[in-house]
């Protein structure tokens, strides 16, 4: 029995490691062109300077328009978005943000969080339920909550993957698929992102309505933060949701709302939003998306391989009593006091707990 368990957990760990390294590979590949580019810049500098030395006769004129705080808004016979604007000053800021900050820092941030999780997992492994499974189930989430969760997760990942392809595809996928192949992929991603994007508004609203109860911060959460959420050992006390889960909830609410608002503006751009509004929306959208994607790695890790038994609350809707006692002791106390059914079940398993208590240390070693 014990060896079987060990073989099984070893195989799971192998699969997990494989997934982790292949994902790590995907995350780090976008950075390679930057390394190559930085290496090549030194060689190209001379030729770039040569081209730039040819002065366009209009340079002074356009610099006058742009730099002397001259009026850039004029009149034109041509009907169109911003067609009366002589020069778009916001364009350069947006371009620099996208090329010099969002793309490289986004990759480092998402890759960094991912790497930190991998290192943590390799050092600590899965956090098992103390004393092992009791077999007693405590209801944790309703069917509505689970549906909202997986709906949100599905929409989020569809949008995250299509969005990341649009952000990093030029550097990662063009060398693999070729320009035409990637154009088809990117076009599909853009359409999916635009068409399914509005569903994320529904998802955020549903999550807010169904999960707001229990997700308000209280003083106990400060203690939880002070102890690092038990990441470095020690017991942390928590109610139905611990401070980490609450933080994730509020991050999703705040940045999810930012994503929805900025995304809707970008989707209906044809209604006539100006470039300054659109480029600002794009900045908000990019920062929020990168942040939520990076933090979602942590959420997914803790919900699956990070902590044994957590996934149950989002699949079956009930959790093991041992899990509840270990991670949400205050909630466990509430549940066991309030609910007769749970109490009855608790007594029923008392005899079983002794057996489990003896059997588990073997499996753990």
């Amino acid at each position: 029995m014990a060896t079987e368990n060990r073989n099984k957990s070893g195989r799971i760990r192998k699969i997990v490691l494989f997934c982790v390294f292949s994902l790590l590979f995907v995350v780090t590949v976008p950075l390679i062109p930057y390394a190559i580019d930085a290496y090549a810049v030194a060689g190209n500098k001379a030729s770039v300077e040569k081209v730039a030395a040819l002065e366009h006769p209009a340079i002074n004129l356009w610099n006058d328009v742009r730099q002397r705080n001259g009026r850039t808004q004029g009149l034109t016979q041509v009907q169109g978005v911003d067609s009366g604007v002589l020069i778009n000053k916001a364009g350069e800021d947006w371009r620099r943000f996208r090329i010099e900050q969002l793309v490289p820092y986004g990759a480092w941030f998402m890759g960094g969080i991912f790497g930190a999780i991998v290192v943590y997992y390799l050092l600590k492994g899965t956090q098992m339920m103390p004393g092992g499974s009791t077999g007693v189930r405590i209801p944790r989430t309703s069917l509505n909550q689970r549906t909202a969760h997986w709906f949100t997760a599905g929409v989020f990942w569809l949008l995250a993957v299509t969005g990341l392809i649009l952000l990093y595809g030029r550097f990662v996928l063009i060398p693999i698929l070729g320009p035409e192949g990637f154009a088809a992929t990117a076009s599909a991603c853009k359409e999916m992102h635009n068409l399914f994007g509005p569903l994320f508004v529904l998802a955020v609203v549903a999550m807010f309505v169904l999960f707001i109860k229990g997700n308000m911060f209280n003083f106990g959460d400060l203690k939880w933060f002070a102890k690092g959420g038990g990441m470095f050992g020690g017991h942390v006390s928590a109610g139905k949701f611990n401070a980490g889960e609450k933080t994730w909830f509020w991050l999703v609410m705040i940045f999810g709302t930012a994503l929805c608002v900025s995304g809707l503006i970008l989707v209906v751009a044809a209604l006539g939003f100006g470039r300054e509004t659109l480029s600002l929306s794009h900045m908000v959208h990019g920062i929020s998306a990168v942040l939520l994607i990076a933090v979602s790695f942590g959420h997914i890790y803790l919900g699956t391989i990070g902590v044994e038994g957590t996934l149950d609350s989002m699949t079956t809707g009930s959790v093991d009593a041992a899990w509840a006692k270990a991670h949400h002791d205050q909630w466990y106390a509430e549940m066991t006091n309030d609910s007769d059914a749970v109490e009855a079940a608790d007594q029923e398993q008392d005899s079983g707990l002794v057996e489990g208590g003896v059997a588990k240390p073997e499996a753990g070693t």
């Binding site: 209009a58 016979q77 169109g80 350069e92 090329i99 030029r170 035409e180 989707v267």
Partner: protein, 197 residues
């Protein structure tokens, strides 16, 4: 190697929109798309100036830098062109461009952007030169015929110039010397203007 450029002389442009019309006619651009436009600053006030604006065919084009599918390329003449078969109509080039050159037909589903269209310096596109496909997608290819863009060729006051940057710089320098004034700064001093301009 030539570097093709546009230059619009603000002292000469009379906002007749002849360049806009010439461009639309020559390239048969779709409804709602204007590759070129004339912008008037301080309309009706002292110091009123008009400029004809289209793609300026930048050496270090911001549109090409931000394009997620890398559909832009620069020809040997320094003309910035793009491939409509690769463009996905995301609109990033429009955000980045200082001159508002990229245009989008908005007749696609849900009012989303169609493929980007912009001034080609009358140099067509990546398709076979003078093929009907090239004409439908990108408009005329006058450069291949040894001609300059029609907007500049049609300009009645010769305000809008198109051609090799060095030649344009020479023409402009002569004009400035003859006018005895710099553009957008002191205004025109016609009394001091030479007669051989």
């Amino acid at each position: 190697m030539a570097r093709m450029k546009f230059y619009c002389d603000a002292e000469r442009c009379i906002e007749c929109n002849g360049c806009v019309t010439a461009c639309k006619n020559e390239n048969e651009v779709p409804w709602g798309v204007n590759r070129r436009r004339v912008v008037t600053i301080k309309d009706g006030e002292p110091g009123e100036r008009s400029l004809s604006v289209a793609c300026m065919h930048c050496s270090d084009a911001p549109c090409a830098a931000v394009c997620p599918v890398d559909c832009f390329y620069t020809t040997n003449d320094g003309i910035v062109l793009h491939d409509k078969d690769i463009c996905i109509g995301c609109g990033y080039c429009f955000y980045a461009c200082p001159f508002g050159a990229p245009q989008f037909p908005s007749d696609a589903a849900f009012a989303s952007r169609g493929k980007m269209d912009k001034c080609t310096f009358c140099a067509g596109g990546p398709q076979v030169t003078h093929s009907s496909e090239e004409y439908t997608k990108y408009g005329a290819n006058r450069v291949a015929e040894g001609k300059l863009p029609l907007c500049a060729e049609m300009c009645a006051t010769k305000a809008l110039l198109a051609g090799d940057a060095d030649v344009l710089a020479d023409i402009y320098r002569k004009r400035v010397v003859n006018r005895g004034a710099s553009v957008m700064n002191w205004g025109v001093q016609y009394k001091k203007a030479g007669i051989d301009g």
